[in-house]
């Protein structure tokens, strides 16, 4: 036998997560639905903006000048700030409330946080639509003669930050309630991860305030022009990368337990160390975003590059914990064959399909991320389409698909209807990944050739290589495919959110691998180490190819620049 024979959980064996969600106070459920709805609106706006941007870059749409960059701004602001932060705030609160078992603590603060974030959302979208296009980093130097755009843009992010901090404090208080009641002496692994994540969200709010308060003060005439915005932005930008990645891994833990009944076979302590490692490793690894900055000294570049090698430690460790726990549990139930155990996973459940394909996207994304963290390759790749080429594997393939997977489980349990057309939704992640592979392959190739990140017409009057427009057309093809497939997923989740039908008699399929713990881990679990070995091999290939290309260029260049 090369697969596992496993019972499918029936509707009457409701797992802990959905049972606890269903029992939450009605007021909390309303808050969660409001935040999930706002997050999905931001995702829909961002998806539309991204799709139009990709079509314009593929020359399938004629969009130039301010209009084009306004659409690009809307895309970035909607997805990278409001989709990712709103969904994180919502997931933090809902998972903390479920962990507590009695709903939210400091409920008014959570509502205040939601109100502030929504006010920020409105301000940011409005100014992005009508103001000077500032892209998602809101650089004030682009609008020195338009303080209103700078001020309102900064105000939007500051409101978001304030709301995020308020929601995180409510989440922390919620997580601590069982301890204060004497019902628990320690967090579960997920509880500790939520606690650390909430702290990290507050730090992200501090970083956003550090980056955008000077812009608001300048716009109000109360401060000097924020000439150093670029450096301050990088700190927030780095947080923006790893905060949702930590949230993703946390959601994988939650979903794995929900969909299979499996918890870590390595104990809660190792998981807590791994989640703490996110916070330990993130700050020292932040310098690689600045490798092109002329002010950065060579020694800092070298040290920054070396430290960046550690950026994947917690993510790969968490991946190894989850995969080895699943495989060992499956083998303890009799699964055989190198990869046969995976057939036993509940792939017919759209949440499982989204999570599974998210892992594939993560491995692809990490491969190319590690090309970019090498400071000597930065002069070839930074500021090119290589960057969106690889990070869409993360932003869409990993983060968005994981968070949608969470919603597919949480929304029906919160009192919405049954999940909309699960048989259709479970097919979307493969299509999204296919689209991303086309988008990413063409985009990364274009980036290596030098196609800039933010130029709509890459013809340069015939001076540009002939391959550039062709590659950007392929980027448009890939974007169309994943945008359509992702839209179906988003539509399904929105339908589920808005549905008033009672949940179906049977929940989406799960398996129960909680039995069979006897002897777990006694036989080899090769999937994790083999996956990592393949990852390292592809990272080596990608890095070597990049070095070979940069060394083959008809130029000898010395000095990364220095300044005052």
């Amino acid at each position: 036998m090369d697969c596992i024979s496993t019972p499918v959980a029936t509707a009457d064996t409701r797992p802990r997560l959905t049972a606890r969600l269903a029992a939450l106070p009605r007021g909390d459920a309303s808050l969660f639905r409001l935040l999930f709805g706002a997050a999905l609106l931001a995702l829909a706006l961002g998806l539309a903006g991204g799709f139009v941007t990709a079509l314009a870059r593929a020359r399938a749409l004629n969009l130039f000048g301010d209009d084009a960059y306004r659409v690009l701004t809307l895309h970035g602001v909607s997805v990278f700030f409001y989709w990712l932060y709103l969904i994180q705030a919502a997931l933090l609160l809902v998972l903390a409330a479920a962990e507590n078992g009695r709903g939210l603590a400091l409920r008014p603060l959570a509502w205040l946080g939601a109100a502030l974030m929504l006010a920020g959302f409105a301000a940011s979208e409005w100014i992005s639509a009508i103001g000077t296009p500032l892209l998602y980093d809101g650089s004030p130097e682009l609008a020195v003669d338009d303080p209103r755009s700078v001020g309102v843009f900064a105000l939007g992010y500051l409101l978001l930050s304030a709301g995020l901090a308020a929601a995180a404090v409510s989440g922390i208080a919620t997580l601590l309630q069982p301890r204060r009641r004497g019902e628990a002496e320690a967090f579960s692994a997920i509880g500790f991860a939520l606690f650390a994540w909430a702290g990290f969200l507050i730090v992200s709010a501090i970083a956003a305030t550090n980056a955008f308060l000077p812009g608001l003060l300048w716009a109000l005439g109360a401060g000097p022009f924020p000439a150093d915005h670029g450096t301050e932005w990088h700190i927030l930008f780095h947080n923006l990368h790893y905060l949702p990645l930590m949230a993703t891994v946390l959601v994988w833990y939650v979903l794995t337990q929900h969909l299979t009944g499996v918890t870590s076979i390595h104990g809660a302590r190792l998981s807590k160390i791994v989640f703490a490692a996110y916070l330990v490793f993130v700050p020292p690894t932040s310098l690689y975003h600045m490798f092109l900055e002329p002010n950065l000294s060579e020694s800092v570049r070298v040290v920054g590059s070396l430290l960046s090698l550690f950026v994947s430690v917690p993510t790969l460790a968490a991946f190894a914990i989850i995969v080895s726990s699943l495989e060992a549990s499956a083998r303890a139930r009799g699964a055989t064959g190198l990869f046969g155990w995976m057939k036993g996973l509940p792939w017919r459940n759209p949440a499982m399909a989204n999570m599974g394909w998210a892992v594939v996207n993560m491995l692809v994304g990490i491969t190319f991320a590690f090309v970019l963290i090498q400071e000597k390759l930065a002069p070839m790749l930074s500021d090119t389409f290589f960057v969106p080429g690889y990070f869409h594997f993360f932003a869409v393939g990993v983060l968005t698909q994981t968070f949608l997977a969470a919603l597919m489980v949480i929304l029906p349990a919160l009192g919405g209807g049954a999940l909309w057309r699960p048989d259709l939704l479970r097919r979307m992640p493969a299509l999204v990944t296919l689209g991303l592979l086309i988008f990413g392959t063409a985009g990364i190739a274009a980036g290596v050739m030098g196609v800039p990140r933010r130029v709509f017409d890459v013809g340069y009057g015939g001076m540009a290589p002939a391959a550039w427009p062709v590659l950007m057309a392929l980027v448009g093809v890939g974007a169309t495919l994943f945008a359509v497939a992702l839209s179906v997923s988003v539509y399904g989740v929105v339908r589920t959110l808005l549905s008033r039908r009672a949940p179906a008699t049977a929940e989406s399929r799960r398996v129960d691998w909680t039995d069979g713990q006897r002897g777990v881990g006694a036989v080899p679990a090769w999937t994790g180490p083999l996956s990592v070995a393949v990852l390292i091999a592809t990272m080596y290939v990608a890095t070597i190819v990049a070095f070979e290309i940069i060394q083959s260029l008809p130029i000898v260049a010395i000095g990364g620049g220095h300044g005052h």
Partner: protein, 232 residues
């Protein structure tokens, strides 16, 4: 509980987490990371952006790196430590002195006037595509000034010679720009911050017309911001 297989032990899982650090090996092999125990790919480690189109060494370029070697260019009055004002003044003088009838700037066009400190930069005999690394290293760099501003470069066309090192001094005049050079299979990207003088010593090893373009969004006509380096 029965004995765990090695692949399901905590230590093994933790080690997997650190596995990507092994990419250091590839970096070190290309001289892109310092080696332990004092081992050092000297030139590559200290001059990270140097790379040779012929796959050969390039240690000789070390002497051309402006920050490390301000001496020998005292005649310029500006090497490491050039202020934005000094840059603007030098840029204006460069454009005025070397602009040709077709609008391009050729720093070799009036080499006598450009000579300084008793040594010229004519680069005579260095204009061949097959210029070897040793000859490249031997030549003194010629100063070139490039100013980026909305939405053009000044000068927008530069005429240079293959094999001749040029000390590019670059600065953005208003807001952040890029000055990226398209070199065929890839580009070399330079980010220019306003009022920050950036220096790179660049040698083109093959003749051709190279597109220079902005890689940092700078406003509505960002797409049109381009220039050219014609290497003969």
């Amino acid at each position: 509980m029965s004995e765990r297989h090695v692949t399901t032990r905590r230590g093994f899982i933790a080690a997997l987490g650190f596995s990507a650090v092994s990419l250091y090996g590839a970096w070190a092999a290309y001289g892109a990371a310092p080696l332990p125990f004092g081992g050092h790919k000297g030139a590559a480690a200290s001059e990270p952006d140097a790379h040779d189109g012929h796959g050969g060494g390039h240690g000789g370029h070390g002497a051309a790196e402006a920050p490390a070697e301000p001496a020998g260019h005292a005649g310029h009055g500006a090497a490491a430590g050039m202020t934005p004002e000094e840059f603007r003044s030098a840029h204006d003088a460069f454009v005025e002195r070397f602009t040709q009838k077709d609008g391009s700037a050729d720093p070799h066009a009036a080499v006598e006037a450009h000579a300084h400190g008793g040594h010229g930069h004519a680069g005579a005999g260095h204009d061949h595509a097959s210029m070897g690394a040793a000859m490249v290293a031997a030549a003194e760099p010629v100063d070139v000034y490039l100013m980026a501003q909305k939405f053009a470069y000044s000068p927008d066309v530069l005429r240079l010679k293959a094999g001749q090192p040029y000390r590019f001094r670059m600065m953005a005049d208003d807001i952040t720009h890029g000055a990226s050079i398209q070199l065929g299979s890839a580009s070399r990207i330079i980010r220019l911050r306003p009022n920050v003088v950036t220096e790179q010593t660049i040698t083109f090893t093959k003749p051709g017309a190279y597109l220079v373009y902005c890689t940092v969004y700078c406003g509505p006509a960002h797409d049109a911001m381009q220039g050219r380096i014609v290497v003969g």
